[in-house]
Symmetry: C2
Subunit: 389 residues, 2 copies
Amino acid sequence: MTSTPTEWPRDSVGIVKEESFTFGSPESPLALTCGRTLGPVTLAYETCGELSPEKDNAILILHALSGDAHVAGYHTPEDRKPGWWDFMVGHGRPFDVDKYFVICSNVIGGCKGSTGPSSINPQTGKPYNLDFPMVTIADMVNAQKHLIDHLGIRRLLCVTGGSMGGMQALQWSIACPERVASAIPIATTCRQNAMQIGWDEVGRQAIYADADWCNGAYLLHNKRPVKGLAAARMLAHITYLSAESMQRKFGRRLREKENYGYDFGLDFEVESYLRHQGEIFVNRFDANSYLYITKALDYFDLERDHGSLRNAFENVLTRYLVLSFTSDWLYPTAQSLELVHALQNNRKRVRFRELETWYGHDSFLLPNAEMMALVSDFLATVQQEVRKV
Amino acid sequence: MTSTPTEWPRDSVGIVKEESFTFGSPESPLALTCGRTLGPVTLAYETCGELSPEKDNAILILHALSGDAHVAGYHTPEDRKPGWWDFMVGHGRPFDVDKYFVICSNVIGGCKGSTGPSSINPQTGKPYNLDFPMVTIADMVNAQKHLIDHLGIRRLLCVTGGSMGGMQALQWSIACPERVASAIPIATTCRQNAMQIGWDEVGRQAIYADADWCNGAYLLHNKRPVKGLAAARMLAHITYLSAESMQRKFGRRLREKENYGYDFGLDFEVESYLRHQGEIFVNRFDANSYLYITKALDYFDLERDHGSLRNAFENVLTRYLVLSFTSDWLYPTAQSLELVHALQNNRKRVRFRELETWYGHDSFLLPNAEMMALVSDFLATVQQEVRKV
């Protein structure tokens, strides 16, 4: 194969470098919401575009549950699979690298280059496993603040992300009002509801049910709970889709057969697809990270943290663009509207749009002309305003 | 405790007897859709009310995935938990035992007194386990036909059920047009869609992931895949509810604590509820039956069986009352409408109503005045018509 970078789209950011930043020595570790501390803390991140001399064009992109810092572009010339939000980040794309300096930070608790349960615990020389402290969305954001400080950026032009990334964006705007000019929370919520907690809990139970989980110590036993983690992922994957998108994509089509097998092998394309999603996930994700990050999602509740949603947004100085999707039944529009109303009750500046799609929660990860135009326009307005001040 | 039956509601059917009927000797076993045979076949069933001398007042009630033949009343004087559809069956209740003879039949493949994978295989003297042949909704109905013959009933006044029970009702009306005067399929579909297959497949994967499943042979090893089956049930249970009902019932309420535990113990009421649902389920249901019955659901496709839905209902002689629920996102109203349209395209008699509820798919299992009135009225009309002929 003689593949060359010329196969990449012309507006791609091209090669991006995996970077990491470590802070939090044993003497000054990161204080966590749970009361424990974590240190040293490493954050994996990637950047594209150039930071302006005024350092006023930085956009921080935050990823969802299973995401990572690789938001756009390619890691090697041979790479054919771009980052997870590539269509949003590039030359002339909504997060336009000719105008903006784009940063994407991984989260603590994860397994994509940042400190998490599979990292080595400096006190024992072994993986933390379940000794890793519980982390929250606020802790993830606190860690990112160290990274943004390190990059010398005082105020972010925008903080954005979908799903858990949107929670981080909201948390950023509340925790550091003066450091966030604008935020674009997408397909997200101010607090995980009972059904969202329920799905996460079932995923965790599927992992616990796998004997190879070894009560969290599988790394010490050279095992991995691949079946349980795959089941958890399959379950979550369905919640990211819509009944309509699944029906359009798979219907009742059989998998390489004309008649039912009348056994427990593969009958339907949708079974094959879900099994495949489970299989590839276990090769790229750590089961304990899955447990920790779903707990961070479930603990997210700005109402509880601040007494009320109105209080939560009382002191924000951020301008918001809130987006939701008609087919997203996991993080439905009603949750975005709850956010919008809390902002409006505080007379904050917010634009809201529900986009018509049929892809479900995953809609934010798929090219959408309306979403792209809304983000472009919003960022242009924000940048103009920031530069005017 | 000196509890007495007087604590039961006055319109209860009171004590009902668990009965069973066995047919299908090795010489004339039940022929199954998969090409294999099953015999002998035992069906558990219960009856309430009296069969009229004309034998024209029999109503066959069919249960959903995890249901059983115990549809109403109590098994012993000490029993405080009535059958699963007790509010529908009783003196003066919609399935009025003063007017109708009510039969509820369990399904083959199950574990509630009928022949299923945990039954003894007469050829080996051991449980069938995965040697049990795959059964379909049509096979379940074929087995029930033997029971109805045995009871001496030529024509059923009504066949009804919710979810998988509704599938059996549809299958009855198609397979035996002259034997079904009316049918009330509730919260059901003519064919399982991709998402419904997907949920079932994830449940199966959660069971497979439990090492104690022993590739289906757990009974031979004195084990039971309780964790995997519990996870499967928790997952399914969420699909039976609605986000609204879960939020109203649990919200983000903590379980016997005021602050988050920041561990993998119990934090939220909804986690406690789901874990409890999983735990009680594994004590009353067999994991292999769960696998077989979900496959029967997934194989259900009247369109595939008959070339088109229109063809499927071409020869029915049944009058239908089709019911769905606004909050049921698992078997949404659109699927009931597909059925209604197939009947209307054949100029068959069908009444349809979407009932406003917020309980999700489980709505059919909960008292609902509108549903009760619709069923009462429909049955009265049908009986009047049947007796006129």
